[in-house]
């Protein structure tokens, strides 16, 4: 493919990716304007935008919108970074050592199918309804996802490249550092995107635990007072955070694992 062809292809991708949400928005506005659904159930986009502007200037329940956003982001980032670091570490160890794999197999596989929401009552018992429970709940989900992905990544390493490294004098650590880890990176980057989506989901759920700030709190509070436009505005903010982080991670992934899909 020539350079200009590639450019045109990219441009078309960006155009379609931008137009598709706008089309949905237009259809939505049209449906609301024709009165196909009651405004309590499906308010028009303009009303949601108005609520968003209201929150952005006056805050929600006496707290600035940015404090809500900041509280949620702080919880997610702490839990995400810690969970990803430990999960990747454990996954790599499991991939490299049969013994460590055996050690962690039952605990992690028993824990993995349990929906995080099912753990909420336990976490309340153990850690109360404060920050600890919320962060730990996200942390645990991220950790489990990243452990599975990192371990699978280790297995993606080809026998020939391991042998090549050994026959060029690499010791165990060098084989790991220069061959196993880079081979696992594509899968780890994919895992990071999946885990980010899950982390945001769990965030909203974890903020149901209580407290007086956070986007999850905002959505729940607005919904219990039937302030549908505020619910939508809150949901949209979370969605936009998800979109931005996913695009960011995908971009970073393309730079870091530049060789993926080009062999």
């Amino acid at each position: 493919m020539s350079r200009t062809d590639e450019r045109r292809e990219r441009l078309r991708y960006v155009l379609v990716a931008t137009l598709s949400p706008l089309a949905i928005l237009a259809l939505w506005a049209f449906a609301a304007a024709r009165g196909w659904a009651s405004p309590i159930i499906l308010p028009p986009p303009s009303a949601i935008w108005a609520s968003f502007l209201d929150m952005a200037t006056n805050g929600y329940s006496g707290i600035s919108l940015w404090t809500h956003v900041g509280a949620s982001l702080a919880r997610v980032s702490v839990a995400y970074v810690a969970g990803a670091a430990l999960g990747v570490g454990l996954g790599l160890l499991r991939g490299r050592s049969r013994l460590i794999d055996a050690l962690l197999l039952a605990p992690s596989e028993l824990l993995r199918p349990i929906p995080p929401l099912g753990l909420i009552p336990l976490f309340i018992l153990w850690f109360g309804v404060g920050e600890t429970s919320k962060v730990l709940l996200i942390f645990l989900s991220v950790l489990l996802i990243m452990m599975v992905n990192a371990q699978a990544g280790v297995r993606a390493c080809s026998l020939d490249s391991l042998r090549a490294a050994q026959s060029m004098g690499a010791n165990r650590w060098q084989v790991f550092r220069f061959v196993v880890l880079p081979s696992a990176l594509p899968q780890i980057m994919t895992g990071l995107r999946v885990a980010m989506g899950t982390a945001l989901t769990i965030l909203v759920a974890s903020e149901l635990l209580g407290g007086d700030r956070g986007l999850g709190f905002l959505i729940l509070d607005a919904s219990s007072f039937f302030r549908t436009t505020y619910v939508f505005a809150g949901v949209a903010v979370i969605g936009l955070i998800g979109l931005a982080t996913d695009r960011g991670l995908a971009w970073a992934g393309r730079r870091i694992v530049h060789w993926e899909g080009r062999r």
Partner: protein
């Protein structure tokens, strides 16, 4: 005895072409199999295989697919241990992989996350060489295999032939005593394959490296080999040996039409078909 047991550095352009046959006669073998047997999970692949390869010699292992060529190479590389007998390199039993035995893989097995220069200098990095030294050696080896200007490219930006050149260069950078090549050019087009075959002969002349070259192509074996082992029945340890007698330098393309080449090709062909 004046024969260099260590291969001459490819960095010394003055290294004289080695007379492999003369050397092989009076020097102790670099590589020796003594009644080697191998079985995969109890299924015997070979039994009582013995041979010796002299310093600077290029031996072509020729045989049909599945006869055990790769298995022999893997035992020399130290990836597999013989189930019976001993495999010896430089007087010591082979117990595992090491930089004294370099491997060129059929599918190159380059590290896609490293540049050409980083791939080539990998053995030096493992040995703790400084960055400037690694770069210098990488450039030197890239020049040796005709990759000057591609040092900073990534393997996925190269053609199949160029990838094999990198595979060759990274093995040479480790200055191995023995080079093991497992059908390295079988996936390439004829022109690329022939030019790489000539490259191998030139590199052997310059470095004095001992080479075990696996192939299933008679032409390739006859053009490259000082000797050819035709592996017709490894299960009983039997194989035919053919001495190749072609003018030196062996890299001459005319050798492909030399009467001696054509005769040998026919002999082997008849032997394989009998």
């Amino acid at each position: 005895m004046t024969v260099a047991a260590r291969p001459l550095s490819p960095l010394e352009p003055g290294a004289a072409p080695l007379q492999a046959k003369a050397k092989a006669a009076d020097a102790p073998p670099v590589l020796k199999f003594e009644k080697v047997g191998f079985a995969y999970d109890g299924r015997t692949i070979m039994r009582d295989v013995s041979f010796a390869v002299g310093p600077g010699e290029l031996v072509a292992l020729l045989g049909p697919s599945g006869c055990g060529k790769t298995t022999i190479l893997n035992m020399v590389a130290g990836f597999l241990r013989p189930t019976d007998g001993v495999a010896v390199v430089d007087g010591r039993e082979i117990v595992g992989p090491g930089p004294d035995r370099g491997v060129v893989f059929q599918a190159a097995a380059l590290f896609d996350w490293m540049t050409v220069a980083e791939n080539i200098a990998f053995s030096l990095r493992c040995a703790g060489a400084r960055k400037s030294e690694r770069r210098a050696v990488a450039e030197e080896m890239a020049a040796l295999v005709g990759l000057t200007g591609f040092e900073d490219a990534y393997p996925y930006q190269l053609s199949g032939g160029m990838r094999q050149r990198v595979g060759l260069a990274r093995v040479l950078a480790a200055k191995p005593k023995v080079m093991l090549m497992d059908e390295p050019f079988s996936a390439l087009d004829v022109q690329t394959r022939e030019s790489l075959q000539e490259e191998v002969l030139r590199i052997r002349d310059r470095t004095g490296c001992t080479i075990l070259f696996v192939t299933h192509a008679i032409d390739e074996a006859a053009f490259l080999g000082d000797r050819i082992f035709l592996l017709n029945d490894l299960k009983s340890g039997a194989y035919d040996t053919f001495d190749v007698d072609l003018p030196t330098p062996r890299a001459l393309p005319e050798n492909r039409l030399h009467p001696s080449f054509l005769r040998l090709r026919e002999t082997i062909y008849r032997r394989m078909r009998h």
